[in-house]
């Protein structure tokens, strides 16, 4: 009887008048959570041997995408929403804030963003706009401001559009970097960002604070490099899709916690190499994903490759290893020199195709192919990403010279094309297997 009363009460709550927009938001949110949970289940069910170190990372994603929690909550720290990989997170930690990276990967929010952004905009930008316009994720809602670098055209216009929802600090990244003046210019931009952060948090950034945060991130980078070396192992001890997920989660937690979790995972993986507990066979074709970022919950590409019998050995994307690969050099501990190092690190080694001259990407790919014994490249291209599309010719030519097969997949966040993609990947991997075994 009591129970029934409760039900009646609940119904009474539900039946309060709701606007159309609110109802729609609820449906969207439900879909998004469902999508995220589905991906999490897929990721969790991959290993023969359960990987205990992964629990933290999967939980973090679960918290962010389905439990609607936020790391900034419960602490006094302000959070700042970042995009791309050109913003020094060291500065934000030094100012007493926490950075979260908000580049979106959900096809549900991308569908919402479609109404705001032009048809040809890339799904990443659409997903961000969808999240912001409907206030879907608390991670983004609780941010003090968004810091958007003007990298590609989509991001540039996104910065403008986002201003109607939240304070936006646009950071100009020069598109050429050959001359010293351009580096100096970017340095000045970073000083501007520093002033913005100081104003927002009310803390003054001293050289000690910046040095400390640089150390924190250096520790994270050291662990990431350890994971990078572990991934060189053939056969692999961890699925590539999981590695990408792990690196993805760096967006949502404080660097200290994340680093210690990654250290535990690395320990476990090194133990596995010793015990010969591998995640796949050595003979399987080793694939590298290059191009547009693979952002959770859009992990379909690596999962499809693995389902078709390949190994995602490594990725060269900005949500993966490119993000945390390059360390910051600390030559002197005064603020000016530290800022110079940051400007150097966040502009020069970046292989983002938004830069006019980006030949270094080819060298980087060549080096990675050699280090990771790559058999084939998957050029992941999000529809609408012109920068990556235009560099495809250059990469293809380089791969032709090396004799490495490459397949270009142009896709969206939605999952309608999964079966078509599967056929292409299966054919591609079949081709690699054929050439690999006929060679031997």
């Amino acid at each position: 009887m009591k129970l029934k009363n409760n039900q009646v009460e609940n119904r009474a709550n539900v039946e309060e008048p709701k606007s159309r927009a609110e109802k729609r938001r609820e449906i969207v949110l439900k879909n998004m959570v469902m999508n995220a949970n589905k991906m999490l289940r897929k990721l969790g069910a991959q290993n023969h041997f359960p990987l205990y170190g992964m629990t933290y990372f999967l939980n973090l994603l679960k918290k962010t995408y389905s439990d609607m929690e936020d790391i900034g909550r419960g602490t006094d720290c302000m959070t700042f929403g970042l995009f791309c990989v050109m913003i020094p997170e060291e500065l934000i930690y030094a100012a007493g804030g926490i950075p979260v990276k908000l580049c979106g990967g959900s096809h549900v929010s991308a569908a919402i963003g479609d109404e705001v952004m032009p048809r040809d905009a890339c799904p990443l930008v659409k997903a961000v706009m969808g999240c912001a316009s409907m206030e879907l994720l608390p991670v983004g809602n609780n941010c003090h401001s968004f810091i958007v670098p003007s990298t590609c055209d989509c991001k540039r216009k996104m910065a403008g559009e986002l201003e109607s929802f939240k304070e936006v600090y646009p950071l100009h990244v020069p598109s050429t970097r050959e001359l010293d003046e351009q580096k100096e210019y970017f340095l000045e931009e970073l000083y501007g960002l520093l002033r913005h952060l100081e104003k927002a948090t009310g803390n003054k950034v001293s050289s000690e604070k910046l040095l400390n945060s640089t150390h924190e991130i250096a520790k994270a980078q050291k662990e990431v490099y350890r994971l990078y070396t572990i991934q060189k192992n053939n056969p692999p001890v961890m699925h590539g899709s999981q590695v990408i997920t792990v690196l993805n989660t760096y967006a949502f937690d404080h660097v200290k916690r994340w680093t210690s979790a990654l250290a535990l995972l690395n320990d476990e993986l090194e133990e596995r190499i010793k015990n010969q507990q591998f995640a796949a066979k050595a003979k399987m074709p080793r694939i590298m994903i290059v191009g547009s970022p693979v952002i959770f919950p859009n992990i379909k590409i690596p999962i499809l490759i693995e389902e078709s019998g390949g190994i995602v050995a490594i990725d060269e994307t900005c949500a993966g290893f490119r993000w945390l690969y390059d360390p910051v050099v600390v030559r002197e501990s005064n603020l000016e020199e530290l800022m110079r190092s940051l400007a150097n690190r966040y502009m020069l080694p970046c292989t983002c195709p938004t830069f006019v001259n980006n030949e270094q990407r080819i060298f980087k790919l060549q080096q990675m192919i050699e280090e990771f014994q790559i058999d084939g490249l998957v050029y992941h291209m999000l529809r609408g990403c012109l920068a990556y599309d235009s560099e495809y010719a250059m990469v293809e030519q380089a791969m032709e010279q090396l004799g490495i097969p490459i397949v270009k997949v142009e896709t969206d966040y939605n999952e309608e094309d999964i079966e078509q993609l599967r056929i292409r990947f299966e054919a591609f991997i079949e081709l690699i297997k054929h050439s690999k075994y006929s060679r031997v």
């Binding site: 001359l179 150390h215 520790k219 360390p327 080694p349």
Partner: protein, 294 residues
């Protein structure tokens, strides 16, 4: 071993400075057979070996005055030093280089302000000055004056060892170089005629700076660290030998290089010192001794 190479360099610099400034006190003997092509001022009588700078800048003073055998021996010695060591002498032995390094280190340790860099803009100017000094060094005796009159080293090593010198115009040069090397890493080396003269023979010197172009990520830290601001070190994408006339082999670029085996110093093709990620974290990010905190 590669982790501790920067320390080895400092040890050698200190040793070089000590021996060429008060070596006679320590060893009790002076080598007069050969002359080392660095600025080790011969006015200072306590140096274990004299610099070749005095004789090279007084070419009118040796030809026709000293016997031909001595001249031959002198040039043979200098040539041997140049071929075997090259500008390695600048980075590892030069006493004046050590003083400049010390001044620069002092600035960074008392956190004065950011260091000065010439940058792209003034590279051409610096180059011009360098050639000007090279001309002054070898040929200014034609006009009856001499490089020693403006030599900044005269104000350092002899004074430290207690020898008497007269400075005159040199005083201003000394002042400029002192202030300069406080703010700019190896200020004098950028325009040093002696070092540049050695550097001109870098093609036949046995020490080489080599690069694995594939491993390079063009992060540009080497360029930031380079006291001579050699930009080609990170922009080079074809050649593996990237030694230039300016390279001092100070090995700072290798110290700050985060890529495994991307940069290395070789002697006769044998690797002496190479970059690695492990050594990078050890030497640069200040993580040394902070491991346990986490």
């Amino acid at each position: 071993m590669h982790k501790h190479f920067p320390k080895l360099r400092w040890a050698l610099l200190i040793l070089g400075f000590a021996l060429s400034t008060f070596g006679v006190y320590i060893i009790g003997k002076k080598f007069t057979l050969a002359y080392i092509p660095v600025f080790a001022c011969p006015i200072n009588r306590e140096g274990i070996i004299d610099g070749a700078c005095y004789k090279l800048s007084h070419l009118n003073g040796i030809f026709g005055v000293t016997p031909w055998v001595d001249i031959g021996l002198f040039f043979l010695g200098v040539a041997l030093f140049i071929v075997i060591f090259g500008r390695m002498l600048c980075g590892f032995l030069c006493p004046f280089g050590f003083i400049q390094d010390l001044a620069f280190k002092l600035r960074s340790s008392i956190k004065v302000r950011s260091a000065i860099r010439f940058g792209d803009k003034y590279n051409a100017t610096v180059n011009l000055i360098k050639w000007g000094f090279l001309f002054i060094f070898f040929a200014i005796w034609v006009f009856g004056i001499n490089f020693c009159d403006i030599c900044p080293v005269k104000g350092f090593t002899p004074l430290i060892a207690g020898a008497k010198t007269t400075l005159h115009i040199s005083f201003f040069v000394v002042a400029i170089v002192m202030v300069g090397s406080f703010f700019k890493n190896r200020f004098w080396c950028n325009i040093c005629p002696m070092g540049y003269f050695i550097g001109l023979f870098h093609q036949i010197s046995l020490f080489r700076l080599k690069k694995n172009c594939k491993a390079c990520t063009e992060c540009g830290y080497c360029y930031e660290a380079c006291p001579m601001e050699i930009k080609s070190i990170y922009t080079e994408r074809e050649k593996s030998n990237i030694t230039t006339c300016d390279c001092l082999f100070c090995s700072d670029c290798i110290k700050v290089c985060p890529e495994d085996q991307a940069l290395k110093i070789t002697f006769l093709g044998k690797t002496i010192y190479t970059s690695s990620r492990e050594a990078f974290f050890y030497n640069n990010s200040g993580l040394r001794g902070k491991k346990d905190e986490a």
